[in-house]
C-alpha cells in the first residue's frame, strides 16, 4: 500500500475515507439503476396501458381497430399451454431430480446428465424453438399447435424444475432417510412418505418459478408458428356429450399473451402501443406475482424449518 510512506498519515486516511464514501455512493447508484429500472419500466407500462385494461379488453379477440382489440384468445392460449407444460414438465423434472439426488451413483452417465442439465439451462430460448420446429412440428408432424408449444416450454423449463427440486431434496437431512431405512422402509417408501412431503415447499417454489418463466417466453413460440391474429378459441376441453372430455384443443393453432404483445409492439404506428402496454401490465403483473409467491414460500421455508 503506497500510502505507508506518506508524510501526512491523517491526509492519507482522509483520502481513503473519501474514496470509500465515493465507492459507497457508486455502489448504491448501480443498485438503484438495476432496481430503478424495474420501477421505471412498470411505471411506463402502467402509464400507457392501465386505461386500456377493462372487461372488453379481456374478452375480445384481436382486431384491426386498436380500440376493439383484446386478448381473449391470448390468455386462453397461455392458460392451455401452461396446462400442457405443467402436466408434462413437472413430473419429468421432479423425477429427474429425484433420480440425480437419491439414486444416481457417480458414473460417467450421471456426470453426462448433470452436464447436459447445466448446459440446457444456458441454451438461448430461441434454440428450443428451432428444436421444436424441426422435431415436433415436422418430424413428429404435430403441427403448429398448443401441444407443441406446451412440450417446448416443458423442455425449456426442465432445468429450472430439476435444479430447484434437487436443492429442496438435498436440504432434507440424511438422518430422516436413515431413520426410515432402519424401520425397514424401501427407498421409494422413504421418498414418498418422508423426503418428498418435507421438501414440497421447495419443489413448489421451483415449479412456480418454472411456470412464470414459461408464461413470459416469446421467442421459441414465434419459431414454432404462434400467430398474432387468432379470432377464435380452441375447442373446449369439456363437452356436453359423452365422453365429456375432448383433446382436440391440443392440436389447435394458438397465440399467447407475450406473442400478442409482440404483435402489437411491432405494428407500425402509435395506435396499438396502448394495447401492447396493457398486455405488458398483465404479463408483468402475473410473472411478478408468481415470483413473489415463490420467494415468499422459500423465505417461509427457511425461517420455519430447523432440523
Amino acid at each position: 500500500m503506497s500510502a505507508q510512506s506518506s508524510p501526512h498519515p491523517h491526509a492519507s486516511i482522509a483520502r481513503r475515507k473519501i474514496a470509500e464514501a465515493l465507492f459507497k455512493v457508486l455502489g448504491l447508484c448501480s443498485l438503484a439503476i438495476a432496481v430503478g429500472t424495474l420501477a421505471l419500466l412498470f411505471g411506463a407500462l402502467l402509464f400507457e396501458g392501465i386505461t386500456r385494461i377493462d372487461w372488453q379488453f379481456l374478452m375480445s379477440y384481436p382486431s384491426r381497430h386498436a380500440a376493439q382489440a383484446g386478448i381473449l384468445s391470448a390468455w386462453v392460449g397461455s392458460t392451455l399451454i401452461m396446462l400442457v407444460t405443467a402436466v408434462v414438465g413437472i413430473p419429468l423434472g421432479v423425477a429427474a431430480a429425484i433420480y440425480l439426488e437419491e439414486y444416481a451413483r457417480r458414473t460417467w452417465m450421471t456426470e453426462l446428465i448433470e452436464v447436459t442439465v447445466t448446459n440446457l439451462a444456458g441454451v438461448p430460448s430461441i434454440i428450443y424453438g428451432l428444436l421444436a420446429l424441426g422435431l415436433f412440428v415436422y418430424i413428429m408432424g404435430l403441427g403448429e399447435s398448443i401441444l407443441v408449444a406446451g412440450l417446448t416450454l416443458a423442455l425449456l423449463t426442465l432445468p429450472v424444475v430439476i435444479v430447484t427440486t434437487r436443492e429442496a431434496i438435498r436440504a432434507i437431512p440424511v438422518e430422516i432417510r436413515e431413520a426410515a431405512y432402519a424401520l425397514g422402509a424401501t427407498k421409494w417408501q422413504t421418498l414418498t412418505h418422508h423426503v418428498l412431503p418435507y421438501s414440497v415447499a421447495g419443489i413448489l417454489t421451483g415449479i412456480i418459478l418454472a411456470l412464470s418463466r414459461a408464461i413470459g417466453e416469446t421467442a421459441p413460440l414465434v419459431t414454432i408458428g404462434a400467430l398474432t391474429f387468432i379470432a377464435f378459441l380452441p375447442p373446449a376441453p369439456v363437452t356436453t356429450h359423452p365422453p365429456y372430455l375432448s383433446f382436440d384443443w391440443l392440436l389447435s393453432p394458438f397465440t399467447v399473451m407475450p406473442i400478442q404483445m409482440f404483435g402489437w409492439v411491432s405494428r407500425p404506428g402509435e395506435d396499438f402501443i396502448g394495447n401492447a402496454a396493457a398486455a405488458g401490465v398483465l404479463l408483468v403483473g402475473m410473472t411478478l406475482t408468481m415470483n413473489g409467491v415463490a420467494i415468499y414460500l422459500r423465505y417461509r421455508m427457511r425461517k420455519q424449518v430447523s432440523w
Binding site: M1, K17, E20, F23, K24, L26, G27, L31, I33, A34, V35, T37, L38, L40, A44, L45, E48, P91, A95, A96, I98, Y99, L100, L112, I113, T116, T118, N119, L120, G122, V123, P124, S125, I126, I127, L130, L131, G134, Y138, L158, P159, T186, K187, W188, G216, E217, T218, A219, V222, T223, P258, M261, F262, V265, A277, G280, L283, L288, M290, I295
Partner: protein, 319 residues
Amino acid sequence: MSKSIVAGQEVIRIKKPDARVEAASRRRARQRREQVIKGGLFFAALISVAATVTIIAVLLSESVGFFRTVPLTDFFTDTLWTPLFADPHYGILPLLAGTLVTSGVGLLVAIPLGTVAAIYLSEFSSSRLREVMKPTLELLGAVPTVVYGYFALVVVTPSLQLLWPDLPGFNMLGPGIVIGIMIMPFVISLSEDAMRAVPMVLREGSYAMGATRLQTAWRVVVPAATSGIVAAYVLGISRAVGETMVVAIAAGQNPNLTWNPLEPAATITAYIVQVALGDLPHGSIGYQSIFAAGLVLAVMTFAFNILGHIMRKRFREVY
C-alpha cells in the same frame, strides 16, 4: 390367505402358504417395484441428454442441407445476408456483427455497474439491504423479455433521441442498453456469490494490516474471486448473445454490416424471428438458413457456457 368356497356340496380348501415363502415373494415383488421405479426415474433424467442430443442433431441435419447450397467460405466471408432476395447472399457476418454490437453495448452497461453493485452488496451493504436486494434482483430477472423489448422501443430509444436527435427509431444502442440492464441482475448475483465464497480470514488479515474496506475489496476479495467473477461475465455474455425479443423488437430487421451502435441492424436471433414470422415452406433454403444461423448461435453460447462453468468450478475448488 385361507378361505373356503362352498360350491354345491364340495368344499375346496385353499392351502395356506408357508409364511416364510410368502414374505420372500412379497420382498421380491417389492424389490421388483423398486427397480421399475428406479428405471422410470432414470429415464426421466435421460430426457436432458436426449434434448441436448436432439438440439444438436436437428441444427446439424437442417444446416447440412443449407451448406450443400452455400459454400462455407461464402458463409463466413460474404458481407451480405439476403437469403430471401432474388439475388441471395449468405454471409453470416452482418448478423454476427449485429449480435456482437448489441451484446457489446449490453456488456459495457452490465459489467461495470454489475461488478460495482456486487462488490457493494458483498462487502459494504448491511445484511438487511442485502436480504431485500437479492429477491428484488431476482424479480428483475423474471420480467418477460418481450416487455423489455417494449421498454427499449418505447422508452429508451426516444430518451436517447433527446441526446442524438438523428438516432433512428430502430438502432442497436437502445436495445443494447436494455440487454445490459437485463443481464445485470444475473451478473450481480453470480459475482456476489463468488465474492461471498472468499473466506473471511483473508479479509481479516487485510483489515489487520490496516487496509480499508475498499482496499480489501479491490486488492483481496476481487482478486481471490476473479475466476468466479469472470465466470459471471462469461455466462452474462452467453445470455446477451442469445437474447431475442429485445433486439427483434427494437434493433431493426435489416442485416447491416456495421460496428456503429447508432445504426439499425439485425442480429442472428432477430433474423430467426423475422423468418419464422413469415411463412416459409419446409425444406426451402430460407427455412434451412434459420437453422444454420441457429447453429452459429448455439456454438457460440455452448462455448461461453462451458467456459463459464469451468471457471465457476475453479473458484469453488480453490479453498
